[in-house]
């Protein structure tokens, strides 16, 4: 039991729900530098590799053989392997060394050498290197769209919203495997409603995944997992050759693919051979390249909490993303699975991919609430979208998303569900009802969706999969039933298969179905002023989050009582027992409410009533020559018969001043106007009166709120700006007569 209450509070924090362990290299629980990691080496004889990373060819395992046959480019291998790893590491961050020059040499490196190179970089250097080495200049993002009920209307609506929000790719999967063709169809129709050209996939078993692609229901696949040791790979029920064949099979059907790998998977499968996570990941990446995949999703993916349990784990995940980019592979940089209980830790980790940018910053941002994320992911989810949009705006970073407003979003969601209903109707599926469309438009998550007859749905989905209907039937139905734009987008997606430009590295489609890839949008970063720069309309788009308002426009709610004042000529020095209430130049004219929306009429009435409570008269004087509180009260005290003045700015900040004190000194200062209530103002009036009559005064204590400055600083700035605009330096203080007193009940 903790003795310290502070330790106890910390122990209960989210971060301490995460698991942390010390390294255990024999079990592969080490991110870098395991004793069983080989030293880099490469020996060629007669144009073939006879030794690699300390192992002679006759001892090569399955993966070594594949890497030696397909991954390492022999024409540069000897030159590259002879170079110092530290020199490579420096080239990665040297803005004077073009990316292409680095890539050429990387093509010749072994797994151990690649790891040796990144081991010289700290995380900031890794981020610099990722910024330079990623394939596509323009960063992008991928969404997860799934739901626990496999509700087709909700899938369509959610896919539409994800596309509308700017995700370039959408990945779905199934709760029940047999829903696969329906889910793929729903996400395709939905995505093309939100924004034409978004690529979609349905992550299911390989053979099923291929069938969906062949029916035209998906445009990419990234379920091609590879592992860094033979037994782990075989437990995954594949080999590098079976995966490589799949890569070709997908391409032969015009489907984009990327492989999947990530640190920790081998240790999780108890097949790490005492080797470090990064070394095994480097082997995965070389296989990915050797098999001819254009890219990879890595960054530990679903194993993320395993490297994060270890020292240096988050840096290692950044290193594996970088390794992929160094091998000229498109990289979708993880951030897709739950990585921590702690929001601080999740955000900090995200920065390693978000700030430098990657081809896909997330290999699945949960654009739906995490309760509906069937990948078991949702590290960031639908609830966090506004946070993410603010991060883009804060850092001036393109995270691939754009702010949207609710009305447009709901319209897009509804349209997608309606379009899918038309498609369902044309295929003779059990109908999508109006109640489902209504629910899909505004749902938070799948519990908001009406239940469907699952048995009938699954039977229809299976008939669809085995029957002759394809995506072309959907195009036809949409074109004929009032959705020609969606039909056009899906048609164009299918037409693009014939061209195949989007099979090239890091390819995505723009809104106008132009391909952006490593070929025509090649990353040309070479230091400041080069590479992708956020500017122009895209920066405006990111800047204009709907919460941001125009500070020039008045925003205060109509005041319950409007203060009306009459100026009665220049204020003269008073005599006898009185307090002066000296108000700022905008008080009751341009400004009518304090920073926390108290009507100035009521504030002033309370100050006056407070003085009256103590039997002291008060005069209200408007100060024109300054908006500074110290100067306002200083001038008020100069005019006050008793020498006591309350100075108040229109935003509500108040001070009690006595003649003879320096302007910045005071009797009582109430600097956090947002914390003041009408009751407080009454007490201030009373205290001022007691000072004036020479009685003992107990200073008024106002609660302090640490968040007040955060909450009110913008409003304070705006109100003070208005007040200052009303300053007239040659205008003497005016005596005021208050004309609204009768309306105020005290």
């Amino acid at each position: 039991m903790s003795q310290s209450r502070r330790f106890a509070v910390r122990a209960a924090r989210e971060i301490n729900k995460d698991t942390f362990v010390q390294e255990w290299p024999e079990a592969g629980l080490v991110v870098l530098g395991a004793t069983a990691d080989p030293h880099p080496s490469l020996r060629l004889e007669n144009g073939r590799i006879v030794e690699m990373d300390g192992k002679p060819r006759e001892q090569f395992d399955m993966i070594d053989t594949f890497i030696a046959c397909h991954a390492i480019q022999l024409d540069v291998a000897e030159e590259a392997m002879a170079m110092d790893s530290l020199q490579f590491a420096r080239m990665l961050v040297d803005i004077h060394v073009p990316r292409a020059q680095v890539i050429r040499l990387m093509n010749g490196l072994t797994a151990a050498k690649l790891v040796d190179v990144v081991s010289y970089l700290n995380v900031v250097e890794m981020m610099m290197a990722l910024q330079k080495m990623r394939v596509r200049r323009t960063p992008a993002n991928q969404a997860h769209v799934t739901n626990r009920k496999d509700s087709p209307a909700l899938l369509a609506a959610d896919a539409a919203e994800a596309a509308f929000r700017g995700f370039a790719e959408i990945e779905t999967t199934v709760g029940v495997a047999r829903y696969a063709p329906w889910n793929a169809l729903a996400v395709l129709v939905g995505s093309q409603t939100g924004r034409g050209g978004v690529l979609t996939q349905c992550a299911v078993e390989e053979a099923m995944s291929l069938k969906l692609a062949m029916k035209g229901l998906t445009t990419y696949a990234e379920t091609l997992s590879v592992y860094g040791t033979d037994p782990a790979f075989i437990d995954g029920d594949d080999t590098p050759w079976s995966k490589g064949f799949l890569a070709s099979a997908y391409a032969s059907r015009g489907v984009k693919i990327r492989f999947t790998s990530g640190t920790g998977s081998e240790a999780l499968m108890a097949h790490a051979y005492g080797q470090s996570m990064l070394y095994l990941e480097a082997r995965c990446l070389l296989m990915t390249k050797g098999a001819g995949s254009q890219g990879v999703q890595n960054g530990s993916i679903s194993c993320i909490a395993l490297p994060e349990s270890l020292p240096g784990g988050v840096a290692a995940v950044a290193a594996e993303n970088l390794l992929a980019a160094m091998l000229d592979l498109e990289v979708a940089t993880g951030n897709d699975a739950m990585a921590s209980h702690s929001d601080i830790r999740k955000s900090a980790k995200l920065m390693l991919q978000f700030l430098p940018g990657s081809d896909f910053i997330f290999s699945g941002y949960s654009s739906i609430p995490k309760q509906d994320n069937m990948f078991g992911g949702g590290n960031l989810d639908a609830d966090d979208l506004d946070d993410y949009l603010v991060l883009q705006r804060d850092m001036k970073v393109d995270g691939g998303l754009r702010p949207v407003c609710e009305n447009e979003t709901l319209a897009v969601r509804r349209r997608a569900a309606e379009a899918l209903a038309v498609v369902f109707d044309s295929f003779g599926f059990p109908p999508i009802t109006k109640a489902e469309i209504d629910a899909a438009e505004t749902a938070y998550a799948s519990p908001d969706m009406p239940d469907r007859d699952m048995a009938a749905d699954l039977a229809a989905a299976e008939r669809f999969l085995s029957g002759p209907d394809t995506v072309l039937g959907a195009v036809q139905a949409l074109a004929k039933n009032g959705f020609p734009d969606i039909a056009q987008n899906i048609f164009e997606i299918e037409r693009q298969r014939v061209i195949g430009d989007y099979l090239q590295p890091s390819a995505i489609f723009t809104r106008g179905f132009d391909v952006l890839s490593g070929l025509n949008d090649a990353n040309d970063y070479m230091g400041p002023g080069t590479g992708y720069r956020l500017s122009g309309t895209r920066w405006e788009e990111i800047s204009n989050i709907p919460q941001a308002y125009d500070p020039r426009l008045p925003r205060h709610a109509a005041s319950a009582v409007t203060l009306t004042v009459e100026e009665c000529g220049e204020a003269q020095p008073g005599s006898g027992l009185e307090v002066v209430i000296a108000v700022g130049p905008a008080f009751g004219t341009r400004l009518q409410q304090t920073v926390n929306d108290l009507p100035l009429a009521e504030v002033l009435a309370q100050l006056l009533a407070g003085a009256a409570d103590e039997g002291v008269a008060a005069r209200v004087i408007k100060i024109y020559r300054t908006s500074d509180l110290g100067q306002i009260s200083f001038e008020g005290s100069r005019l006050s018969g008793s020498g006591i003045a309350i100075g108040i700015q229109s935003k509500g900040t108040t001070v009690i001043h006595r003649r003879g004190l320096l302007p910045l000194n005071n009797l009582e200062l109430f600097s956090q106007a947002s914390q003041l209530s009408l009751k407080h103002y009454r007490s201030i009036g009373r205290n001022a009166a007691r000072y004036a009559s020479g009685r003992l005064v107990e200073p008024l204590l106002v609660p302090v709120d640490n968040m007040a400055r955060l909450k009110y600083i913008v409003k304070t700035t705006i109100l003070h700006r208005h007040e200052t605009e009303c300053v007239q330096s040659d205008h003497p203080a005016e005596l005021l007569r208050i004309k609204t007193q009768e309306a105020i009940s005290l």
């Binding site: 291929l210 050759w241 015009g254 995949s293 393109d398 298969r497 195949g500 809104r511 309309t537």
Partner: protein, 144 residues
């Protein structure tokens, strides 16, 4: 969506009108109106061998050698039926096929489908599977 959209001149897309689908339909004849009218099958929206070879050249020229090789193998698979593709994939998974069965698949690829690179891929796998013990043995159930 992106900066680049403002600058359409950078989009070097293959608008080569000589591209045809696998079934020989020219790109310009693929239209929404025709599909809406009931024309077309998925194979009319399938990439052709020629288009994949073109993409292979582009990838290779861009420095993506292995991607180019993949596209060349893909080009060979264009005319291989879906079920055969799935059958070959299944055969390449661990412990699914004997050396002889893999040999047959390679032979089929080479002779029936004129797919020498893919055949070589299967043969290379078979060699490794022999030495690494990844073949189906006689007593093993084929649907492991």
């Amino acid at each position: 969506m992106t900066n680049s959209e403002e600058n359409t001149s950078r989009t070097a897309q293959s608008q080569d009108q000589s591209i045809t689908s696998k079934t020989g339909v020219p790109l310009c004849d693929l239209s929404l109106d025709r599909v809406a009218g009931g024309w077309g099958q998925m194979k009319d929206f399938s990439i052709s061998q020629q288009a994949l070879l073109h993409q292979a050249e582009i990838a290779t020229a861009g420095g993506w050698r292995q991607l180019g090789e993949n596209f060349r193998r893909a080009a060979e698979l264009v005319d291989v039926p879906d079920n055969i593709i799935l059958q070959i994939y299944e055969g390449l998974r661990p412990f699914r096929a004997t050396a002889a069965e893999l040999g047959e698949l390679a032979g089929q690829l080479r002779l029936q489908f004129h797919a020498p690179e893919c055949a070589r891929w299967v043969e290379e796998a078979a060699e490794v599977y022999v030495s690494r013990g990844l073949l189906k043995t006689a007593h093993e159930n084929s649907d492991r």
